[in-house]
Symmetry: C2
Subunit: 265 residues, 2 copies
């Protein structure tokens, strides 16, 4: 079983990638919809929430924990790894490796929530691997509300203006590679791609983290031969979950969604 958690429902895009790349694995997903968003909260709060999310998923004896949340991956990954024996896979490290492999001009931009960008986690890891690299961190606070309210069509004037606002500095900076450092952002990939043009490589952190999970399971010879069951838990009313899940998973879900009182963990 793989445990996946996110501050909300954006992490379902990681479930989708995991299902594509590892179709035989059972997945338990926890979306902390009762306390979303994490991105605007203080560091201590984010770590406390992440540890509770971990403790809840550990009840299912997972083979690995996938942190589908850019904010938690940036702020709380070390705390999580100290708290468990299970491999913890974030979205930052895999995306950093992919970006380093893709960039020729050595100019990389990172799009993320204000907390992710403020944490400097992507920039620090990129620079540690290659000190000659230029990195621009661009906070995109309106992208999550845009996606959650369905404004993902590249022709939507609100989407267009918002993409322009955040990506204009990225173009001025001259990035040849852009990391989409938040689970929601792949839904804006088309809108971003149309604005920046084809020459620029977009790295989707969710996809890279699913590939990393596959590598780790292969290494440990822990790949499942049968399975593919999925269970979903949320910390707020499950009402409305099915509809959102349909958008993020791109298919109907028949699975039941259960409420969990996360403050108990």
């Amino acid at each position: 079983m793989l445990g996946v958690f996110d501050s909300g429902l954006g992490g379902l895009s990681s479930v989708r990638k995991l299902t594509e790349i590892l179709p035989r694995e059972d997945i338990v997903y926890f979306g902390d919809t009762g306390r979303v968003p994490y991105g605007t909260r203080g560091r201590e709060t984010i770590i406390r929430y992440a540890l509770q999310d971990l403790r809840f998923l550990e009840r299912f004896s997972p083979k690995a924990i996938i942190v589908a949340c850019g904010t938690v991956s940036s702020v709380a990954l070390d705390a999580l790894r100290q708290a468990t024996e299970v491999p913890v896979i974030g979205v930052v490290e895999p995306a950093v490796r992919a970006a380093l492999a893709a960039s020729r001009e050595r100019k990389i931009a990172v799009l993320g929530t204000p907390a992710t960008i403020r944490s400097g986690s992507y920039a620090a890891k990129l620079k540690a691997a290659d000190p000659a690299l230029s990195v621009l961190g661009q906070a995109c606070p309106l992208f999550v509300p845009l996606v959650e309210n369905g404004h993902i069509d590249p022709a939507d004037p609100i989407t267009k203006e918002t993409v322009k606002r955040y990506l204009e500095p990225v173009l001025a900076f001259g990035a040849d590679t852009i990391i989409l450092g938040c689970t929601h952002y792949p839904f804006l990939k088309r809108a971003i791609g149309e604005y920046v043009g084809e020459g620029i490589r977009l790295i989707d952190a969710g996809t890279e983290s699913a590939l990393e999970t596959k590598r780790i399971l292969e290494e440990k010879d822990m790949l499942s031969q049968a399975g593919g069951e999925r269970r979903f838990y949320v910390s707020d009313s499950p009402q409305g979950f099915a509809e959102t899940a349909r958008v993020f998973l791109d298919r109907e879900i028949g699975e039941a969604v259960k409420y969990v009182d996360i403050e108990k963990y």
Copy 2:
């Protein structure tokens, strides 16, 4: 002492109005920044949070509790009134009275968070007062993130496109009066006003609720003759509070901001 609470910092706009209208009253403000936003959460969660907020403020023996949150005023006001002896003043009822007095064409639009509009609380109260009234509820999910990220300039293209998206149906409907049913929306009053034109009356729920508070204190002969102290509490890191408060209160705040663990109430 007046107790004021909101799901976040938007309610500081109510503190500003209360300070203008009742400058001698001491105010304790609680902003539930650790659990913001309420507007997207389920009904049970909103009621549970609101009761915790109430219990915290009751420690200060308030003369009245002002619920500066449109979502709580729409969803949880009855639960709050059943739980306390202290007068509880929401933002819905005062705004409804003001809108009924202002509208000549008997066509009123209500702007609010998805939860406020879904609750139908404004529409129900308007219709109860005048069944012949036409009411349009317009959910504006992007307005809060716009305000919180400083996109309030009417010339900002993102603001312009978003205002157009939500207000176009309001103009098509033919409203002569618009209720701004969320504490954040007064910051978009100029942008909304420029789009809809001068003939349409904009009712600010925060102002109406401050006037209602004054009426109630006068009635009970409880107006303060001296005072004006303000105290601020939040449920997430107080870091960054001063800056936001400066925007919402339109002045520097010297007062200390304290953290409160709201889950304990």
